[in-house]
Symmetry: C2
Subunit: 231 residues, 2 copies
């Protein structure tokens, strides 16, 4: 490969940014100019700059040009916890129990927004996850049986709803919300904790191309920590 590759271009642009030859907020030369400078095709420069844009180092706009990002947005990518794997990774025995399963109209309160356009009844599940038979987390879930009809026939005594969905329904996009809540009396009982204890709450809603799939609110046992890495 005698020609300049897009990775070479990316590297050199990144170097200039880190060396502050091009400063934060500054407009960098256009694609044509850079292509000429690097002695490559414009598409090659485009490829490099698009990558840098994806990585958050620069911002691009038609007509306005390409600017060095003022504050590079830090993006942390973390794996969505499949609770069974989390438990087993800790060397404990996983089990779970469904404590309610019924068809009900879409909820209005929590996570109700995602079901705004949904008029049919949803599958409503409440379950508890255990690690070595000790309560680990409690979850409340709604599943759209219109987009996922097959779930009606699943036997949840052997596989959790979460895991079945992960394995059977490709997800396109999802929303997350992390918060801390004080356990209600009923929640505390399920988790073998005290009423009022602080617990981590993760809410998640997922979509397919064909519409909303599921929303879930998971409440972890007091003291639980969710860890992740960024790179």
């Amino acid at each position: 490969m005698a020609n300049t590759s897009w990775q070479d271009v990316r590297k050199e642009v990144l170097r200039k940014i880190e060396a502050e030859e091009w400063r934060r907020g500054e407009l960098i030369p256009g694609e044509m100019e850079l292509a000429e400078k690097f002695g490559c095709a414009r598409v090659t420069v485009n490829r490099a700059l698009r990558q840098l844009s994806d990585e958050g180092f620069v911002n691009r706009k038609r007509k306005a040009g390409t600017r060095v990002a003022v504050n590079r947005v830090q993006k942390a990518t973390f794996d969505i916890p499949v609770i069974r794997e989390e438990v087993e990774a800790a060397g404990k025995l996983y089990s779970h129990e469904i404590i309610r399963k019924q068809m009900v109209p879409p909820p209005k309160g929590f996570a109700g927004e995602i079901w705004a356009a949904e008029k049919h009844k949803l599958l409503h599940l409440r379950s508890v996850h255990f690690a070595d038979k000790t309560p680990y987390a409690f979850e409340v879930r709604w599943v759209n049986t219109s987009t996922v009809p097959k779930i009606a026939e699943v036997d949840f005594s052997h596989i959790s709803a979460n895991e079945w969905l992960v394995q059977n329904v490709p997800v396109t996009s999802s929303n997350f919300a992390f918060s801390a809540i004080a356990l209600k009396k009923s929640e505390a009982k399920l988790l073998d904790a005290e009423s009022g204890d602080a617990a981590l709450c993760v809410e998640r809603a997922t979509w397919n191309l064909s519409g909303p799939i599921t929303s879930v609110r998971q409440i972890f046992k007091p003291g639980h920590t969710l860890k992740t890495k960024m790179s």
Copy 2:
């Protein structure tokens, strides 16, 4: 645009995956074949499949071809906002206050692991972030003055430590931990809340190529929710 765009190709391939016309682990047709089928150039198909690969829907290998991902690794990309921006995005006035600043030996308890190899004293900061003069979050931070000597001269009355670091020190990797805690009396007082209230706690440690940079423990006001999206 009369021709087929790479986004059209991406969409159709994704549809086939979701409809299980192409199943998990299955080999999908080669780029040339798809290009012919879609009536577009091979590069266009390549662009679409590369995107899907980046998104984790398929795995690609030279010679071996492209396969539908068995279990799509679910990754949430989490934007770490500077608290000031978060507050201002909500239309409120941001301010902050340093309540302690001193040089101390590395901590042993929380987040002490990252400083295990560090023998010098660290810059220790405690500060409160306000939204419209109402407490928003409280943070405890350690900064490595060996790797970031310039921070000793910074005037934090105009810029927060977080923001200064984001703007001046490129971060290579970092760790996160989310948990819920019950506020101690002293913490509650700073956040204008009640002792024992449940609060979201985010701990973060960041590294550079040259070593650890900073570790921080942020405690948000009770009721605060941290939101993010995956795509």
